[in-house]
């Protein structure tokens, strides 16, 4: 989950870095997606202390 959330976060930010021709910066839909990706990564981090217990 942590890796997935971090990956998604990076990918969303990456859209603006790679597609430099885009205007308007990070839009509202992107903000929502960034929030969700960050939330996923945070939950993932909190699961690390539980080890490899089955989900």
């Amino acid at each position: 989950m942590f890796v997935g959330g971090l990956g998604a976060f990076t990918a969303i930010i990456g859209i603006d870095i790679i597609d430099v021709g885009r205007e308007g910066g990070i839009g509202p839909a992107q903000q929502i997606a960034l929030g969700l990706a960050l939330g996923l990564a945070v939950v993932g981090v909190t699961l690390i202390p539980l080890g490899d217990a089955p989900a």
């Binding site: 509202p28 839909a29 929502i32 969700l36 202390p49 539980l50 217990a53 989900a55």
Partner: protein
């Protein structure tokens, strides 16, 4: 005199009875509303009539996925199952709204029953199971759309039945029985998907659950499921010469309005927060201290899919799956909370950190839960307050509750006007509305030649051909997939004897052509909406 040690259990019972009375009252209001709509012969919610047209086409063995560039410019953007289920009623009773609304209403009762059954199975608390099922029916969103001639709540019914069937499928040891249950559960998901596209979230949640429990089995069944689902899809696309893909997938890519999504999430939480919090606590409990159930994964998927409610044309109905999920999961959590059987393994990192040091407070928490659980349902009952404010029973009830109409036609709704949407529904129709509807039908009958009506009921009841599905034309036009030239040419030639407008959801060039060649001669009010009747400019 109540003994001191009996005080809390007695108070608990009194509060549980109060919660049940409140939620039963909502069931009665829902029944009155459903009865009123089932008897109403015209469109109530914008676009219902086109679902009836889809049903009529299926009853004739035709697909409703047609080329909208050609007369009569009609197509549907919804999958077929709900309309196929309703089609036999067309053979028996002809075109009418009542059976579609009855099916939608009965579907919500089945969903509530399935929620209650699941809660009882997991928690063995009949009163909580009953409250969980009733809470679903008491939701403003479910109330709004349950008894409409629309497919959404039938999708939610199939989704709920699927997760209830599959919840313990991995634990069935008998191979034949397990396969049978898998087959039934996955068939229900397929049914949900072919009722409305939004069921994809439930399919993802279920396969994630199956994968967690048994990766190999989930991959095998997933491959079979994909084969059948894609096979049906390709067959329909081929049978409609590509219109299935164009009309139900391509045309559904609409403008996304983030403020609408945020507004609807806030509305959803403000109405259902009393049960959202315990439901999310259950998800957290399973995530950190136990194993994830299909119910929790389904709830998370249902909440996540609410993001799509910001699409143009979407609304609070996109939260119906999340509402079913939260009623179910919160019911399980509250049952198990009362039972005191939420286990915290002592070896668990977070249990050692947070739970073990607080163990001494367990009796206090148990006592507190006796009051908290019914109070949550009572609080929920207050948050979702909605009722008609007029009539021999409802006027005194509204006065007693200190509320007055805040929506159309004498209706109080704590949801207010749906955030960012346009669905002003929930009120009861009146005999004056029925008279107004028949007046419009009469004008359609009197008109020479075909009639362009934004709602299908008037042309259907006047025995005239239904021309166009305005919102679908707009969907297609917004995606650059509608060639309006033939329709605009007919309007310019004044080929239509009458035009009936309500929301004016036609593409802009069609509306401009209407404005240039037709003039408004009459306005008839029905259900609080103004129906504009336009005739050719001489």
């Amino acid at each position: 005199m109540i003994r001191r040690d009996m005080l809390l259990p007695t108070l608990h019972r009194v509060l549980m009875v109060a919660a049940l009375v409140i939620l039963f009252a909502y069931l009665l209001i829902y029944g009155v509303y459903a009865g009123n709509l089932i008897a109403f012969p015209f469109d109530y919610d914008q676009g219902e009539g086109f679902e009836l047209v889809d049903t009529i086409l299926f009853s004739r063995g035709e697909f409703p996925y047609k080329d909208t560039n050609l007369y009569p410019f009609y197509s549907s953007n919804y999958p077929p199952l709900f309309h196929v289920i309703a089609a036999p009623f067309v053979w028996l009773f002809g075109p009418a709204y009542w059976y579609g609304r009855l099916l939608g209403f009965l579907g919500t009762l089945v969903t509530a029953g399935a929620i209650g059954l699941a809660v009882y199975r997991e928690g063995r608390r009949p009163a909580i199971a009953l409250l969980a099922g009733l809470a679903f029916l008491a939701s403003n969103t479910v109330y709004h759309i349950g008894p409409l001639f629309r497919q959404h709540m039938t999708m939610v019914m199939f989704e709920t039945l699927a997760v209830v069937v599959l919840a313990h499928v991995s634990e069935i040891e008998d191979d034949r029985r397990r396969r049978r249950m898998m087959l039934v559960g996955l068939a229900l998901i397929l049914a949900a998907g072919y009722t409305k596209q939004l069921a994809f979230a439930t399919a993802l949640a279920v396969f994630a659950f199956l994968f967690i429990r048994n990766p190999r089995r989930s991959l095998v069944w997933g491959a079979g499921f994909a084969l059948v689902g894609i096979g049906i899809f390709l067959w329909m696309n081929s049978a409609t010469e590509g219109q299935w893909w164009l009309q139900t997938i391509s045309a559904n890519v609409n403008e996304f309005i983030p403020a609408q999504t945020i507004g609807l999430y806030r509305l959803w939480f403000s109405l259902h927060g009393f049960l959202v919090v315990p439901a999310l606590l259950m998800v957290a409990y399973e995530l950190y201290f136990s194993r994830l159930s299909v119910y929790s994964l389904w709830l998370v998927a249902g909440i996540a899919v609410g993001v799509l409610s910001g699409k143009w044309g979407a609304g609070d109905s996109y939260f119906a799956t999340a509402i079913a999920g939260l009623c179910l999961v919160s019911g399980i959590f509250l049952s198990r909370f009362l039972n005191g059987d939420l286990a915290f393994p002592p070896t668990n990192f977070y249990a050692r950190l947070f739970v073990v040091p607080l163990r001494r407070g367990t009796p206090l928490v148990r006592a507190f839960s006796l009051l908290l659980v019914p109070l949550l349902y009572i609080g929920y009952g207050r948050a979702v307050l909605h009722l008609p404010t007029e009539g021999p029973i409802f006027t005194p009830a509204a006065d007693l509750l200190g509320v007055s109409a805040n929506a159309l036609n004498g209706f109080y709704d704590s949801a207010g006007r749906i955030a960012g949407g346009y669905a002003d529904i929930g009120h009861l129709t009146t005999p004056a509305d029925v008279d107004a509807g028949w007046q419009i039908v009469e004008r359609v009958r009197e008109a020479s030649g075909p009639v362009l009506s934004e709602e299908a009921a008037f042309t259907l009841l006047a025995d005239k051909e239904v021309i166009t599905n305005p919102t679908q034309l707009l969907n297609l036009a917004n995606n650059g997939q509608f060639d309006s030239s033939q329709l605009v040419e007919m309007i310019e030639n004044q080929a239509f004897g009458l035009v009936v407008l309500r929301a004016q959801f036609y593409p802009p060039d069609v509306l401009i052509a209407i404005a240039e060649h037709y003039r408004q001669e009459e306005v008839i009010h029905m259900n609080g909406f103004a129906y504009l009747l336009l005739r050719p400019i001489p």
